[in-house]
C-alpha cells in the first residue's frame, strides 16, 4: 500500500528544504557528479539567470548549428594507467561536444599552474595534450596560462573549451528519450574510476586496470550516420557513473528506464575492486564510453555501426526506456527481482559493511 512520495521525484526538494548553516560550505562530494552536485547546480544556475545548463549547448542556431562546451580537469594523480591529465582534458571536452551530436572543430586550453611545479611535468602534459588533440583531429587554437602561489592550487589544473558543428540530421538531447527506446552502451564500465581509486593513499591496490579515456566523436558520427533522428539521447557517463547519467536522462525526459543487471559489462578487475572496496560499479566514473537512447526500429542498425569501430566494438543493449516509473531507473537483478538504481549521493567512499 504505497505510492510514490510527491517529493521523491525531486530529491533536492525532498531532502534539502533549508540547508543548515553548518552545511553552507562546499564539500568534495559537491563535485562528484551525484545528487550533491545536482543540488549545488540547482542553487547556482538560477543565479546565472539562465535555464538549466547541460554539459554542452547550441550557441548558434540555423545551419550549421554551433555547439560549445567547457570543462576543467583537476585529476590526481596527474599521470595514471591509460592516460594523464593532458589527454583527459582533450577527450573530456571533445566528448562533451560530441554528445550534442556534433563534430568538434577546435579547442582552447588554459593552465592554472602552482608555483614550484617541475617544468618537465608541464612539458610532458603539454605534449600529451598535443598528441591527444592530433589523434582526435581537433586542433588547440588558443589558450591561457596562469601561475598561482604555492599552496593556492594542487600542482596543475587544465580547462579546455571546445567548439563543434552539429552533424546533419542530429537532434539529440538529454530530454529526448522516448518510451520504447532501447538503451545502448558502447563499452565496459568502471575502468577510469577504479584506476584512479587504486592509487589513493590508504586504499592502494595493484592491478592492470587502465583508464578508458578516449575520444568518442568518431563513434558519435558513425551512430548519427546510421540512425539520424532515431538517435534520441547521447551521454558519456563520467563522474557519478552510469547510474547518475541514466537518472538524469530519466528525469530530463520524464521516462522510466529498465536495465538488465546480467547485461551490464563490468570487467572482472573492476568488479573485484568494487567488491573489495564496497563500491557500486554503476557509480564509478568512465571516460571512454557512451550511453545512447535509440528508437527501437533503428537500434539494430546503430548497434552494428558502433561495433565496427574499436571504441564501440563491445557495444551492447543494456535496457529500455518505458512509460512507467517516470524519472526512475529500475534494474532487473540477477535473481529476477527488481531494484531502484539510485544516483550517487556525494563522494564515493569505500565501505566496510
Amino acid at each position: 500500500m504505497t505510492r510514490p512520495l510527491a517529493l521523491s521525484a525531486d530529491p533536492i526538494a525532498a531532502t534539502c528544504p533549508a540547508p543548515l548553516a553548518e552545511n553552507e560550505r562546499v564539500l568534495l562530494g559537491h563535485g562528484s557528479g551525484g545528487q550533491l552536485m545536482a543540488e549545488l547546480l540547482a542553487d547556482l544556475t538560477p543565479r546565472l539567470g539562465t535555464p538549466a545548463l547541460d554539459d554542452a549547448a547550441i550557441v548558434v542556431t540555423g545551419r550549421p548549428e554551433i555547439v560549445l562546451s567547457t570543462d576543467s580537469f583537476v585529476v590526481t594523480p596527474r599521470f595514471f594507467a591509460g592516460g594523464d591529465i593532458g589527454s583527459l582534458a582533450v577527450h573530456g571536452t571533445v566528448n562533451d561536444v560530441a554528445m550534442m551530436g556534433a563534430r568538434p572543430v577546435a579547442l582552447s586550453l588554459a593552465y592554472i599552474v602552482e608555483e614550484g611545479l617541475p617544468l618537465e611535468e608541464l612539458r610532458l602534459v603539454t605534449a600529451s595534450v598535443a598528441r591527444a588533440a592530433r589523434a582526435c583531429g581537433v586542433p588547440v587554437v588558443t589558450g591561457d596560462t596562469k601561475v598561482v602561489g604555492r599552496g593556492a592550487a594542487d600542482g596543475l589544473y587544465l580547462t579546455t573549451t571546445g567548439v563543434g558543428v552539429r552533424l546533419p540530421g542530429a537532434c539529440v538531447s538529454a530530454s529526448q528519450a522516448q518510451p520504447g527506446d532501447l538503451v545502448l552502451l558502447s563499452g565496459p564500465i568502471g575502468l577510469h574510476g577504479v584506476s584512479i581509486l587504486s592509487t589513493r593513499e590508504g586504499l592502494g591496490f595493484d592491478s592492470e586496470i587502465a583508464s578508458d579515456t578516449r575520444p568518442l566523436h568518431r563513434l558519435v558520427a558513425t551512430m548519427i550516420a546510421a540512425g539520424a533522428q532515431d538517435v534520441h539521447v547521447l551521454r558519456d557517463p563520467t563522474r557519478g557513473g552510469l547510474a547518475s547519467a541514466l537518472n538524469e536522462i530519466a528525469t530530463a525526459s520524464s521516462v522510466g528506464i529498465e536495465l538488465e543487471e546480467s547485461s551490464l559489462p563490468v570487467p572482472a578487475q573492476v568488479a573485484a575492486a568494487c567488491e573489495v572496496l564496497g563500491l557500486d560499479p554503476l557509480h564509478v566514473a568512465n571516460e571512454g564510453c557512451l550511453v545512447a537512447f535509440v528508437a527501437q526500429e533503428a537500434a539494430g542498425r546503430v548497434l552494428r555501426a558502433m561495433r565496427r569501430l574499436p571504441e564501440g566494438a563491445r557495444a551492447k543493449l543494456i535496457g529500455r526506456a518505458c512509460d512507467a516509473h517516470h524519472g526512475r531507473v529500475v534494474m532487473r537483478t540477477l535473481v529476477g527481482s527488481r531494484r531502484i538504481v539510485d544516483m550517487l549521493v556525494g563522494e564515493q567512499l569505500p565501505r566496510i559493511c
Binding site: F205, E208, A268, A272, V276, G336, I352
Partner: protein, 73 residues
Amino acid sequence: MCLGVPGRIVGPGLVDFDGVRRDVCLEFTPEARIGDYVIVHVGFAISIVDAAEAERTLAILRSIPGGLDEVSG
C-alpha cells in the same frame, strides 16, 4: 559489518582478487598456504575458505530439483 571478500594468497601477505592485488595481514590464518582462498575483511584474512565445504554447499543446491524453474519476479 561484514564486507568480506574471498581472494587467493599469491605471496607472503599478498592476496589476489581476480587480478586486483593487495597487502593483507595473514596473522589470523597462520595455517594458510599460497594458493589458499581466504575471506578478507579490512585488510585481514579472517577465515580460510574450505574448498570441500564450498563444493558440498553447491552440490546440495544443484541437487534441488528444477521443476518450475521460472517463477515470476
